[in-house]
């Protein structure tokens, strides 16, 4: 049976989902207020005329819209009996994220956050090494993610995107939890501050997490000036060793080509390589789950907690103090049992 997938939204991230659904053999349609035809033409999709039209003809809904619309669309899709893949963050707020998780449990549908960093091979290598105990008990970890800022205007409206912490650093917040376990305390700072709901174009935020194990994690997020190359790194130290990665150094190919005197616009997304795209690996794993295969490496609760920790970081900035974090309280009784 062919998996029928409906993508909602045709902006930036849909281009990193659509071709991979096609690759895994899904029948894909798209509904979007803007850009549906163009996305459909580029990847050979069909276009749905309305949300209802889309829901009627698919098994899975893949939500690639701006952040504030994620939860409402996800809940509607779940209530219409669809499984859901939702671009991160699954909600602009913890309450929204929890609404998606609650709906999924209530209606017995699968819902997952697209925390794609869990599919990047360097982070996968780190996770497996930590799981098999190669570096012992984790003591201290650092994660960094930065490059030129987002291109669409809505990212700089705090009400819409949640700023750099909810939009970008949520990736490494999820990594920090994945690697060192549940979080009990959050401290954060941001410079320049978000004033009157306007997220600065160039902004740096630092988040420090304390885990239930006593381990500590530090995350740096940067939305830099135009032209700043995207880069990520981690450095994780445990009782038996360390593991580190820096995207600026381990290239399998080093290339200068098509050199001109004109600056080439750098990409907001990570550079591509000849290896399988982590975005494809991600779609493969979710597709298999939707078709009755094994559960994927990320759950809807992971998505909820990432949003909740990001919100705690924002609260920490507002209060100028560390904030205690209680994962069980965030998930409530239903989520905690799941």
């Amino acid at each position: 049976m062919v998996l029928k997938v409906g993508i909602i939204g045709a902006g930036g991230i849909s281009h990193s989902h659509a071709p991979h659904w096609v690759t895994v053999g899904a029948e894909v349609s798209v509904y979007s207020e803007v850009g549906a035809e163009s996305l459909a033409n580029e990847f050979g999709l069909s276009v749905a005329s309305s949300l209802d039209d889309l829901f009627e003809n698919v098994d899975v809904v893949d939500i690639c819209t701006p952040t504030t619309t994620h939860a409402a669309i996800a809940v509607a899709a779940i209530e219409a009996g669809k499984h859901v893949l939702c671009e991160k963050p699954i909600g602009r707020t913890t309450a929204q994220a929890n609404a998606v998780a609650d709906a999924a449990h209530k209606h017995g549908r699968q819902a997952y956050p697209a925390h794609v960093v869990r599919f990047f091979p360097e982070y996968v290598a780190l996770k497996s090494a930590v799981e098999r105990g190669q570096i012992g008990d984790i003591a201290v970890a650092r994660y960094s993610r930065g490059g030129e800022g987002a291109t669409s205007e809505w990212f700089f409206d705090d009400a819409l995107s949640g700023g750099i912490i909810i939009d970008q650093m949520i990736h490494d917040i999820d990594q920090a939890r994945w690697i060192a376990g549940e979080v009990v305390r959050v401290f954060a700072r941001q410079n320049p501050p978000t004033v009157d709901g306007a997220v600065p174009r160039n902004v740096v935020a630092h988040v420090t997490l304390t885990h239930a194990s006593g381990a500590i994690s530090f995350i740096q997020g940067v939305w830099g000036p135009r032209g700043m190359q995207f880069r990520t790194s981690f450095d994780v130290a445990g009782t038996d060793g360390t593991l580190r990665f820096d995207s600026t150094s381990p290239a399998a190919s080093t290339v200068d080509e098509n050199l001109t005197s004109v600056a080439i616009e750098s990409s907001y997304l990570p550079p591509t390589s000849a290896e399988e795209s982590p975005y494809l690996t991600q779609i493969r794993e979710f597709a298999a789950a939707f078709e009755g295969g094994p559960p994927p490496r990320v759950t809807i609760e992971d998505g909820v907690l990432a949003v909740a920790i990001a919100e705690a970081a924002r609260e920490s900035i507002a209060r100028g103090a560390a904030v205690e974090f209680d994962a069980d309280a965030v998930l409530g009784s239903e989520g905690a049992l799941a």
Partner: protein
Amino acid sequence: MKVAVLNFAHGHADGYLRHLHGIAGVEVGACDPEGFRQAESLAEAGSPGGTVFFGTYEEAAEWADAVVVCSENAKHREIVEVAIAAGCAVLCEKPLATNLEDARAMRHAAAAASVPLMVAFPVRFSPAFATLRERVATGALGDILGIVGTNNGKIPRDRSWFTDPALSGGGSIVDHVVHCADLIDALIPQRAVSVIATSNRILHPHVATDVETSGLVSIEYDSGIIATIDCSWSQPESASSWGGLTLEVTGTRGSVKIAPFAPHVGGYDAGGETWLPYGSDLDAAMIDEFVSAAAAGTQPQPDADVGVRTVAIMSAALESARTGSVVKL
């Protein structure tokens, strides 16, 4: 010019002594009343002129024009005050002191006696840091927004006093925060206004039972610049290098990351991975600066002011790690 190394508790003392012997016109003295070194091993490090040995700090300071203090952190004040009383220029190992009160008293004593007091922050003399400073000063990075410093090394297990809080003042926060804090101090005119820190004792549980071994220290500066320093003793014993220091500076027009100890030739020998560092000898550059300033009677950098400011950040970090609260400076 007579320069004496006072106390050999700190591992850098041997290197300082060796380098002093290489400076033309410098007579070298040593005082090691607690016997950290065998006299013969000190003499071995010596030049044809040899090393003059003293039984007490007072005798050494009486003889010397300048001294380098390499004792355990908690004894810095006592020894530095002996040297200042004898009119010596002083280079003191970092941190300047284990608490703010001692650090301020040392600065005051040096100022009152009009003798130079310098703090041993050798990374200041790194060419990589010099070019970073230049880039920041010329505005190539725009307005500075955030800084991440890391100073990770092996736990100093051959020197048990490093993990004895009565002698060291604390663990990795005391050992490593001040280097990055000093570099940031030199890089931007802003001053730290608040500190929050978190630490644990997960690493080296059998070696360090009374002090923190990992720490993350977050500092806010008075224009809103944010900095975080990872000061953990997280370089594993099995590593082929001692560790390193990095400073990543992000501004509105760009970012720079320096790693002054990164340049090396890598490879493998019979013992496994090997690491051959190359580049400037930062300790030597620092000693040269100290000796020439002492000879000229001028105040070298890094001075006691930055010594006090870095101790303030370090002390605030220790307090915050204990209480969980933000500490205002």
